[in-house]
């Protein structure tokens, strides 16, 4: 499925995604892990492993199911600095929300992306909102700001 970058960090697809249950098994030494999460996951339990994870993919069962936004925010608050990918039928109007919560990229079905108008539909830079007002600089995937 196509992946659109939001933060500008290079998109690369991992060899394989693993599920959280597989984390407790021994991991190959130098492997950068790619994690696949449902919207129901308890991210606190992932804390010991986050430094080994390069990419976390968070499922959005529907674009109106907003749990993924809180999951990403929690991951950033826990100090996770790798890439976070939203996976599901999201719409370009959600770009500001995705970036604001620390997502780097979004993966969606080619047929959905086509209907939306292609990658160009995702290129608009959102305006700063009153929520951003209290920030000295915009939230980024490297920051842990509120």
């Amino acid at each position: 499925m196509p992946v659109i970058s939001l933060s500008g960090r290079p998109v690369s697809d991992p060899v394989a995604f693993i599920r959280p249950e597989a984390l407790s098994a021994p991991l190959p030494e130098a492997a950068a892990v790619a994690l696949d999460l449902d919207a129901t996951v308890d991210v606190a339990a992932l804390s010991p492993y986050l430094s080994r994870v390069a990419l976390i993919r968070v499922a959005f069962p529907g674009f109106a199911d907003g749990r993924g936004f809180s999951l990403a925010r929690r991951l950033r608050a826990m100090g996770y600095r790798g890439r976070i990918r939203a996976h599901g039928p999201l719409i370009p109007d959600q770009r500001a929300a995705l970036e604001g919560c620390g997502f780097d990229e979004v993966e969606l079905a080619a047929v959905v992306l086509d209907r939306q108008g292609g990658a160009a539909a995702w290129s608009a830079r959102p305006a700063r909102s009153p929520f951003d007002r209290r920030r000295q600089r915009p939230a980024s995937s490297r920051a842990t700001a509120a």
Binding site: F63, A64, D65, G66, R67, F69, S70, L71, R73, R74, A77, I91, D93, Q94, A96, A97, L98, E99, G100, C101, R115, Q116, G117, A121, A127, R128, S129, P130, F131, R133, R134, R135, Q136, R137, A139, A143, T144, A145, A146
Partner: protein
Amino acid sequence: MYRYDAFDADYLSARNAEFRTQVARRIDGRLTEDEFKPLRLQNGLYLQLHAYMLRVAIPYGTLSADQMRVLAEVADRWDKGYGHFTTRQNIQFNWVRLADTPDILDRLAEAGLHAIQTSGNCIRNVTADHFAGAAADEIEDPRPLAELIRQWSTAHPEFLFLPRKFKIAVSGTPADRAVTMAHDIGLRALRGPGREVGYAVILGGGMGRTPMLGKVVRDFVPKADLLAYLEAILAVYNLHGRRDNKYKARIKILVHETGLEALKAEIEAEFARRKRLFDGPEVVPAEDELTRIAAYFAPPALTDRPEVSAIEARARAADPAFALWAEVNTHPHRTPGHAIVTVSLKVPGEAPGDATSAQMRALADLADRYSLGELRISHLQNVILPHVARDDLPALHAALVRHGLATANAGLITDIIACPGLDYCALATARSIPVAQDIARRFAEPQKARAIGAFEIKISGCINACGHHHVGHVGILGLEKAGVESYQITLGGDPGPAAAVGERAGPGLAAEEVGPAMERLVAAYLAHRAGPAERFVDTYRRVGAEPFRHAIYHGKAA
């Protein structure tokens, strides 16, 4: 009052441009109807029975005379010459066209008005005490905090796709005129151990199908911590609120199903994490932002005047209608010689809460002349002029009389709260406005209403309870049975500090039975009350339901 600066104005401008393209993308199919729906709802556009309805926000119920004039202009240019003020301090225009909405939003933005997040599964308009900044009984003016919450919640990236709508109310006084017990989050000002002001956090109140009173989840949160605490609550709700059933998706259900203590533990754990975010070096501290905002809400420079106005006293002696209005429709002001004036939008026989564009312009002019250019909209669907010198009351009253705005019934039995009901709303099961009109006509004689005293009737046209009938002293719920409207009566509800959900009196009544039943109910109240100062709801609590059930259901015409 808060004034939008360049940052705010730029945001409105950008957001409206975005909405304009969203409408275009809906039309050409790049957005499906399902995708467009939350986008239009979060810009205030709600589909009703006959037309789109635009719900314009009046943040914490405060607006300027100039803003009121712009609302009048919108009513004239794009609607049918009137607007409806709601139980959440918003205004609704019932007849707008989708294609006109981007232009309407642009015109509103010029006056610092918008319809952002007045609908949809997001944080809605933060409501507050309509006497804020004027009443003598305040611990503090809650509006700077309400404005801080508004800014924080506007386009908050994490909370735009919640399980369901989320409503916050703020009260600055123990007298609680903001119905904090019946909101998803209610905040009540109080003083902490060192006399500093903080807020009690009340969680999980709500009306609707399953009315519940909120529970105190934290006795005291210092102001500096409030946004972090709200984020903690919202994050827990966003992650754990039900998404499988629209009618079980509010936070009150989560509280009920999880248990308050278990949920509180989750919230407190999340709060500890969020606090670190809010205390970070990149973030302007909440206290600094509150100080910046509070400067806009500095108490107005009113000159002290004598407590008793000789001009008012003479007018009361000369004009009984003015005397009644001054007694019923004014509330004590913190500054001697001043009053908070309620302009009732409940003319008996008219649709409750409606104002014509001419009336809106008249109110704007009167606000400029007598109230420092400021107005409030109360959740009781009335307009407030918050800072009126008592010397000006007779002249103000005379002007209100000329515009049909002098009904002397604030808080009385004819000050009926009613949702739009089946005449407008696709969700309704029954009409509410005709019932309100009938009841009001029966008690319209001003001295009769005055003699009955404080009496809160609230009418909802379906179980979604937008008329707040659960917290009416008398609540009326319009349902439909076998194709016929059937009205259930509830008794003993209370929206204030002694909050209570009303109890069902018995089987539903036909539409034409409601008015006569109300007359029998009032007769029973007058017969049982300890004295004129005992409100109906207090008599009900003292003597019980039986005399009133009997009055409603017996003595009906055969």
